[in-house]
Every structure is written in C-alpha cells, then in structure tokens.
Amino acid sequence: MTATLPGRVAGDPVVTKEPEASSRVSVRVPLLVATAVLLVAALLGVSIGPAGVSLSDTVGSLLVHVPFLHIHTQASHLDQAIVWQIRLPRVVLAGLVGAMLAAGGASYQGVFRNPLADPYLLGVAAGAGLGATIVIVSGPGLSELLPVAAFVGGVGAVVLTYLVGANTGGRASGPSILLAGVAVAALLTAIQTYLQQRNAQDLQQVYTWILGRLTVASWSDVVLILPYVAVSAFVLLAHRRMLDVLRVGEDEAGSLGVDPARVRLVVVAAATLGTAAAVSVSGLIGFVGIIAPHAVRLATNSSYRVVMPVSMIGGAAFLILADLAARTVQAPDEIPIGVVTAVVGAPFFLFVLRSKRARQGVL
C-alpha cells in the first residue's frame, strides 16, 4: 500500500510536493461527481414519498419558502406541510447524518490505521444507546431529553475510552485506545441491555431508537445538530492532510514533525462530537461509516485529501437514498433505516471490494 502525501500548505510540517495541476484534478472530479449524485439524491428524496404530492405542488411548496421570490402555489396547506415540514427536514437530516457518519468513519480509519474502523468504534453507539435507554425507561415525561442524553452518553463513552486507554504517561497509543473502546462499549452495552430487559414494556421504544428514527425528523433536529456537524466537519477537513501523513506509520509521521497522539486526539474529539450529535437524533444507523469512505477510496484514490470531502458528500447522498427506500419501498409502512443501510450497503460494498482497484490493493 502506498500513501499519497499531500501538497504542502502553510504551517504543514510536511515538505513533500505534488504537481499542482494533477492535485486539483484528482480532487475536483470526484467532488463534482459526488456533488451531482447528492443533488440527484436530494431531488429524488424531496420529490418522492408515500403521500404522492405532485411534482408541481412539491416545487411550489418549496419555492414559497424562498425569500424575495413571492411565489404563490396551488398546493394545499396539507401538501405544503408534507413537503416542507415532513419530507424536506427528513432529507436534510439524513444528509447531515450521512455526511457525519461517513466523515467519522473515514477519520477513525485514518487515525487508527484500521480499515474496519467505523464511527462507533470507541463506544459512541454504546454510550448513546445507554443514554437513550436511560431516558426511555425513566418515564414518559423526559422524552425531550432523549437527544441530549444520547449525545452525553456518546461523548462520555469516548472520554471514558480515552481515560481507560491512556497509559501511565497519560498518552494513549492507537491499539490501547481500540482495546479500551471494545471494553467500554461491551460494558455500556451490557448495562443498556440489562435496563431494557428490566423494562420490557419500553422495549419497542428502545429498539425503535436503536434501529434509526429519521421517521420523526423535524427542522428542530436539523438546527440541533447543525452546529456540531459543521464544527466537526471543519476540523476533520482541516486535518485531512495529517491523516495522510499518519498512514505511513506513527514513527514515520513523528519524523515528519507530526505528533500522532495529538492529531489522533483532535480528530477523535471532532469525529466523536459530530457522530454523537448525529446519532442523538437519528439513532444508530450502521454501515455508512464503512461504506462511504471505502467506496470513495476504491473509486478514486486513497488520499484523505479526496476521501474526506468526497466521503462526506457521498455519505449524505447514500443516507438520503437509503431513507427514501425506507419510506417508500413498503409505503405506507416504514422500514427501519438501519436495515436498509445494511441490506443495500453490504452487497454494494462487496461489489466495490471485488472491483479492479481492490484487486490492485488500493484499499
């Protein structure tokens, strides 16, 4: 496996250079393709749904909300509400969550140099699941606290993992953090399982949350997670070149002036913040964090300069389409989105894995 070292930017300790023209081309094309796919996915997501709102009414319902246009629509209030208050926030939220999970997966795979790493590796999912379960079994009056509890649980789990994984010098190596993550996740999952079994009457609510709850997506959810996702995405994108350096190995990265532990801490903190925010409103949606980055790697190249931004856009498109399937394939029934991402994602991933680039050992 060969690492592609990035072009130099101000402040970067890395001195390796790449031809500027080829660098721009290699990022631009995948970005443009991914953005086009995202736009198509978003358009499909907004246009199609179990309510069967006509295309003109859908467009009208969207345009009336565009400032300064002063457009009037023939769409009924009901159809406008369906498009603007039910369907669109769901598409936007799926996009944000998909982007965040993909970025989280790519980041974890980079800092731990482990292709199987996903955003839930260090206990975010287990912690969020425990937080959500505690609120659900504590009684009905606390349901407003569900996202907060899931977020605190997710972040708390990763902090605990870091504390447990740190060696006596206070610094944590990659393998020790991974092992600590496994242990913390197992412990928190055990507590969560105990609580849900002791409160069997709430079992359905717990499972509904775990299997993904974009079904009740609203603008308030979007507003709730947007700041976290934005900050997280900014930090991860800013560190994409560092992730490329880490791929050559911790010692080598150190010799190039990069502090692997510091980079790991910053990247994990940012990825955790965003992932915890995403799962706090979406529940535990699997597979996105593994599929999106690997698909991008296999389709383009393995540099994080490309993988990070394109994975975000690709992850957003993937989850929007998965959610579209979840709400339309068996309409008016919902299919748990976690099931869709696994059923659709696993064969797709295998297909990509068997492609030419995989055989060439790019993965």
Partner: protein, 317 residues
C-alpha cells in the same frame, strides 16, 4: 423502572375510581362468586396444548395483566396468590415483582402455585414448571373479541368458575352491544389513526384493538399497510402518509408510555393541518387498558364512542 411503575399505579389510581364511579363496566368485585362448578381433574385445550388440572386451584400465579383482570372478573380473585408487576388492576390483586416477560422459575415456584397463567412463554419456562407438576395455562393476545371470550371460559373451567365466566362474557357482550347501539351510524366514511407510540407505530384492523374499533364503523388508515402480516398487524406508518390520509379521529394509546396528548400531537410539525386536530377529535386512551383484551375493553369502547358520537351528531364543517 420504579418511577414508571409508580406512574402506572398512580394512573390506575386515578382511572379506577372514575371507572367505578361511572358504573358502566364490569366491576372486579361484582362478578358472581360461584361455588366450584367444575369436576376435577379437568383437561383444558389451551394455546400451549392440553393442560390437566388435577384439583381446584387455590394458589394461582398470574403473569399476564389481562389474565389477572379476567380471573378477578369471573370471581376467581380469592384464589389468586400472586400476580406479575404489570398486573395493576384490579386494585386488590397481590402484585409482586415477578416479571411476565422474563420470568424466573424459582421465583414463581416460591409462591407454591397450583396453576400459573401466562400470555406467552418467551424463555420456554413452561416445561420447567410442568416438570415440577405445576400446570401452566397460556392465554396469548387475541385478535378478536370472540377469542377473548374463549379465554374467560377457559379460565372459568380451570378455576372452578365456569358459571362466573359465562356470566362475565354475557355481561361484556351486552355492554358492548349497548355502546354500539347507542352510537349513531356514520353518515359518511370516517377513518382513524391509532397511535402506539410517537414514532407512528400503529395497529391494523387485524388486531384485537382494530377489531373492536370496527364495531363503530370506523375505517383504519393503517389497513393500507403494505406488510400487515409480517408486521404482526402493528406497522410503523410514514408521517406524510398519516397527514395525507387526514383521519377523522386520532386515538392515542401512548399517553402513559410516551406522554402524548392532544397538545403534543397538534405541536408536531405539519400536524396542525389535520382535521382531527382542528375538530378536536383526538382521543387520549389509557395505554394499559388499550393494550389488554380483558373486561375493560368496554371502558375503552365507551371512551372512543363518546368522541365518535360527538362527531356524528355535530359533524364538522
């Protein structure tokens, strides 16, 4: 768990006196106390096969809330020694910490039961109890009123209250017929959305609750469910479908579990456009009563009929 249980008990404490004050449902103490009218041993053909009961049980353990309500309704309450933690009705039932969902056999045996009533057997503990010579009667969730009546009769046979069971079945049937007769027929198609939780899980007409509601001539919007069979009659509906269906009524069976009410429904994004919201046709139900197929189904039907009558007598513009 304790908070939840406490809340349920408090809810029951509020609801029960209201029900008794209304005097329009079967009172748990009103059932006839019949003498043993079964000759033992008796063989019952229950959901779990042939169950032989050697003598009149005097130490019944009920691990099903509906079973507990039925036992008291047919007059077998005095023979009940322990009930599970969800059996919160009637008030005098000897509630314990026994868990009907994940029962511990030793904890059950500790009550020295001579009959155990369950609604299902998730852990396969029946064979263990049977090995100890303790008969187990399984009365699973029913999908029709007729099936629930069979369970009363079965419990009556098992406990020596066959006559009491027949009386109770006749009583419930008569009350249901009375409610239905007192409710005007719909002049136009009326639909409803039955909500099990705030993520839009619902129940189709193939379920017990759907069966009961159909008595009032209501059309269930969940019946369009593409996969009613594999979802067991409890599909998760899509929000925009519910809005588009614009049901005449919304019945909330998630008032206790999930603190839902007319205000929380109206506050959901887009839901204020629904006619059920603007016409005040949102009916909060007691989750516990709505999820059981016992004697309080009459109370449930009355709650629903009250709103249905109001709609039919003064249809919204």
């Amino acid at each position: 768990m304790n908070n939840h249980t406490t809340r349920r008990l408090l809810a029951a404490a509020v609801v029960i006196p209201v029900i008794l004050a209304l005097g329009c449902t079967s009172s748990p103490t009103a059932a006839p106390v019949a003498a043993t009218n079964t000759s033992y041993p008796v063989v019952i053909h229950a959901a779990n096969g042939k169950v032989t009961i050697a003598h009149r049980p005097t130490a019944i353990v009920s691990l099903t809330a509906t079973g507990t309500e039925m036992l008291y309704a047919i007059g077998a309450g005095a023979q009940v020694k322990a009930v599970d933690k969800n059996s919160d009705y009637p008030a005098g039932a000897p509630m314990t910490s026994l868990d009907g969902n994940s029962p511990n056999v030793e904890a059950i045996v500790n009550y020295k039961p001579d009959l155990v009533v369950v609604s299902d057997d998730p852990a396969g503990f029946q064979s263990q109890l049977s090995a100890l010579g303790i008969p187990v009667l399984e009365d699973p969730a029913t999908s029709t009123l007729a099936q629930s009546y069979q369970q009363y009769l079965q419990l009556g046979q098992a406990t020596g209250h066959a006559a009491g069971a027949q009386t109770e079945v006749a009583h419930v049937k008569a009350q249901i017929a009375q409610v239905v007769a007192a409710t005007p027929k719909p002049t136009s198609s009326e639909s409803y959305y039955y909500e099990l939780d705030q993520t839009y899980f619902s129940a189709t007409s193939s379920t017990f609750i759907g069966n009961v509601f159909s008595l009032l001539g209501l059309k269930n919007i969940a019946d369009a469910s593409a996969d009613a069979v594999s979802s067991g009659g409890y599909p998760q509906l899509n929000a925009e479908y519910i809005l588009k269906a614009n049901p005449t009524y919304i019945f909330l069976a998630d008032t206790l579990c999930c603190a839902q009410n007319a205000s929380t429904v109206a506050a959901r994004p887009g839901w204020s456009t629904l006619s059920a919201v603007s016409n005040h046709r949102i009916v909060p139900l007691n989750d516990d009563i709505a999820s059981r197929w016992g004697p309080r189904v009459v109370t449930l039907l009355q709650d629903v009929a009250t709103t249905v009558k109001a709609q039919r007598r003064a249809p919204a513009a």
